[in-house]
Point group: C2
Chain length 180, copies 2
């Protein structure tokens, strides 16, 4: 983390993320972002070809990293569910600011054509725990476990990291365990 002077491109992403999170994507104009940085709109267009391009550049690395997480666990044999849940928690906790953005404005996933990737990601997570053809009961429990870990990260942001991690993962293991 050298934190050398960030490039203009990176500064734009930083400020955009902060403003998107605070006042919403749609309500944040490129003008706003440019003003905040002391540059002009055309300068912004030099770095990002459109508004969606900017949003994509912020969200895509997240999707990428999530996919890698799943791929890593898919290669394990056997799958260790508790470690999967822990990694899943850490991923969400680490990126909770960006995730808050995505989840309070889920629609943007569709707008940047990433909705399919997100759905596929969910499907593969369930597959890791219950195989490719889960029963309805198993599907419900998987939704509750993974969704719940996500929600814990976002709804209890002030809780101490390690205690929250234990609480969330334990709760998830409880739901999953009763159907294993």
């Amino acid at each position: 983390m050298a934190r050398s002077t960030p490039s203009t491109r990176e500064r734009i992403q930083e400020v955009a993320l902060e403003m998107f999170a605070r006042q919403g994507v749609q309500r944040t104009s490129l003008q706003d972002i440019a003003n905040r940085l002391g540059i002009t709109k055309p300068a912004l267009y030099y770095h990002f070809s459109s508004r969606d391009d900017l949003v994509r550049s912020i969200v895509n690395p997240l999707i990428q990293e999530g996919e890698e997480l799943v791929a890593r666990h898919e290669q394990r044999d056997p799958v260790v569910v508790s470690e999967l849940l822990e990694d899943y928690f850490d991923f969400h906790y680490r990126h909770r600011e960006k995730l808050m953005l995505v989840l309070t404005e889920l629609r943007i996933l569709g707008e940047i054509e990433s909705i399919d990737a997100a759905l596929d990601w969910r499907r593969r997570l369930v597959g890791l725990v219950f195989g490719p053809e889960p029963t309805l009961d198993q599907a419900a429990r998987a939704i509750m476990a993974f969704g719940g870990i996500q929600d814990c990260c976002l709804q209890l942001p002030d809780a101490p990291h390690q205690r929250l991690r234990t609480a969330a993962v334990d709760a998830a293991l409880t739901v999953l365990g009763a159907a294993a």
Copy 2:
């Protein structure tokens, strides 16, 4: 359900809900809605004083009904958790189209100043199960249980109603039970 010819006001709400759900609130202009109904924008303004007013008119009854559900269970002594969860499921299942709208665009709750009501609602639900000062572990489990029921309704829309109800409520009881 007389389904007499709906008033223009009701037809606007119907069409708006359908378009909001399909293409998003922000991307649906009053012009779009008016065109679809074969009327003009000013005609729309006769029925709703602003765009937010229209959104509010669609979402508010939902919030209202949710509050009534919580209030009803708050008056019970003792609280019967399984029945609370069943009512909670039925509420979400019945209104899943509108809820999909709200949850894929959570930001709109802030825009119509209903975010506080929504947060308070969650807080009271947790209180019904674990009292006013839940531990972190209990809070995590409550988030997982209530959030999970919600997610099941929205993510498994094709599942048979009764089987889904049983699966979701059972799973929720499992998480809550282990901390009761």
